[in-house]
Symmetry: C2
Subunit: 322 residues, 2 copies
């Protein structure tokens, strides 16, 4: 749920006049993304999404995000394509904020991904990794990889057990394993890093778009796979669905086969991915202002996923041959 | 800011399959209205707004609201037209709530109405009153007219002076004038009762749509004019703009001339309209949960308007000939 900024119509008109998009036909705030204000913008030229970057986004990262979307769109990835103004510039300014107009993607997200959805997601993720391989104009460090986890833990440590008994000790134990054992030297490149079902659109079971590149960064490609196994392949009751995992991994490998080292690292990468979302959700959960309308995601969902990964004995448990 | 209810995609598909709208192409929560959840719905048949009625709307009122929109649309008023399902029924049920699909109106609302906007609004309001004259299938009492004000005052009385010194006494004084002196016997019919600038769309200065009929009711027509004078004809600094008032009233009278009795009643109706919004805003303002993301409207805006109306010496001050 978003829409934080109110856009005065006069400012919108002035902003739009710097683009070749014709006249305004409709404009509505939409609930998409959580970091920024997003609007449906309809003009004589078609439908677009206008994004105003709010304070949680570092303006220094915008050239990376916008350049990446442009790069991926140029390579045929179904993602929002930044629209340039008459001066050839995509990043503008509106209502006192950095602003971007991008193309509107058709499709809707799925709540409970099917096996076919997981296969399509795996294929799209591999395509994204391949298309991003030569995006070198900008780079962005992943602040939410292994070195970022202990500071989050320290913010939550004293109150973690109010969310689940023993949680602080479990996270400390996890960190003691992941920090020294985190896989290094695996193939790296641009990763999406947040490719949850609500950031993927389907039209009649065909994957029609990937959105929300605002966690994208340079990191280990297989870590992106691990994030998706966490986000797509667990059932509502907390059980890992090996059929979906197998489909996701097979879909991925049909485009970009994983090396033996990447496959061997999957259990550790999946533990790390589960811990990353457990930690950010835990910090958000412990810091909800009273009376807030937006309820954060339950961190315990990722605690259950982490427990599954700790119980895994072989990569075969994920649905891939060792 | 709205979007309260999450719609499971599977339920949406099942719901849509009862309509002749073809396949789903896009679905996004939008920030429109404050009482209900609204979504942009794009299908093969075009763009629509899906509304889920939340608990602040009385389900018993829905036949009035939906019947009225259908009636007005049939008479050529640019308002959302309810879409019937295959069984010929407009009101459905989705995500455990009453649900309506209506046509999507092009246009955008204005923040600072121009004189031309006010003239167009007046004309549209009179058209609405005329088109609603033979809507007799359902009726709805205005709970926020004069008999509803004292209960609101009693909710706010003890803390009113924390908002503005002397406010409780001023409201009490106003009620002592309005309750015995409220105009009766003027022409009545269906009124919109909430026709603020954000409920009116324009396309290139042409009024292209009226939305949000969820305060509509049967009441004095000239009271609707008074609500609009309050909502459209004051400047940001609190001053009444007589040129805008004159334009609104002339636009209205070009379609439906006001009787001498209606004109004579305008100052009292304007005071009542100002008090009505002052009171509801005051109650909302005093009952904001701490940390809430949605800030209510400032009641003092309507206190300033009320003070203007108390100072009026003649209807000529509004821009109309006595």
């Amino acid at each position: 749920m978003a829409v934080y900024t109110d856009v005065p119509p006069e400012e919108l008109e002035a902003f739009l006049s710097t683009y070749e998009l014709g006249r305004l036909r409709a404009f509505k705030g939409i609930a998409e993304g959580v970091e920024n204000s997003n609007f449906l913008l309809q003009t004589e030229a078609g439908s677009f999404i206008l994004t105003l970057y709010e304070k949680r986004v570092n303006p220094d990262d915008l050239p990376f995000f916008i350049g990446l979307m442009q790069h991926l769109a140029n390579r045929g990835i179904d993602c929002p394509q930044p629209v340039r103004n008459r001066d050839g510039v995509a990043l503008g300014r509106l209502a006192g904020r950095p602003a971007l107009i991008a193309t509107f993607l058709l499709g809707t997200s799925v709540r409970r991904p099917s096996v076919a959805n997981c296969a399509a997601l795996g294929t799209a993720l591999a395509g994204l990794h391949q298309a991003g391989a030569d995006f070198t104009a900008f780079s962005r460090v992943n602040a939410l990889s292994v070195v970022g986890w202990r500071p989050l833990y320290e913010q939550a440590e004293s109150r973690a057990d109010t969310v689940a008994p023993g949680l602080a000790a479990l996270i400390a134990d996890e960190l003691s394993v992941l920090e020294p054992g985190w896989p290094v030297g695996l193939p790296a490149g641009v990763i999406h890093a947040d490719l949850f079902p609500d950031n993927v659109f389907f039209t009649d079971d065909r994957l029609s778009g990937l959105i929300d590149f605002y966690f994208a960064c340079n990191d280990t490609l297989a870590y992106d796979v691990a994030i998706c196994l966490n986000a797509w392949c667990f059932e509502a009751d907390g059980a890992y669905n090996q059929t979906k995992g197998r489909a996701l991994l097979a879909g991925y490998q049909a485009v970009r086969p994983l090396s033996p080292a990447e496959i061997a690292a999957l259990p550790m990468l999946c533990r790390g991915a589960a811990l990353r979302f457990l930690l950010t959700r835990l910090v958000d959960w412990l810091n909800v202002p009273p009376g807030a309308l937006v309820r954060p995601h339950d961190p315990r969902e990722y605690l259950r996923k982490l427990r599954f990964h700790r119980s895994v004995e072989s990569v075969r448990d994920y649905g891939v041959d060792a």
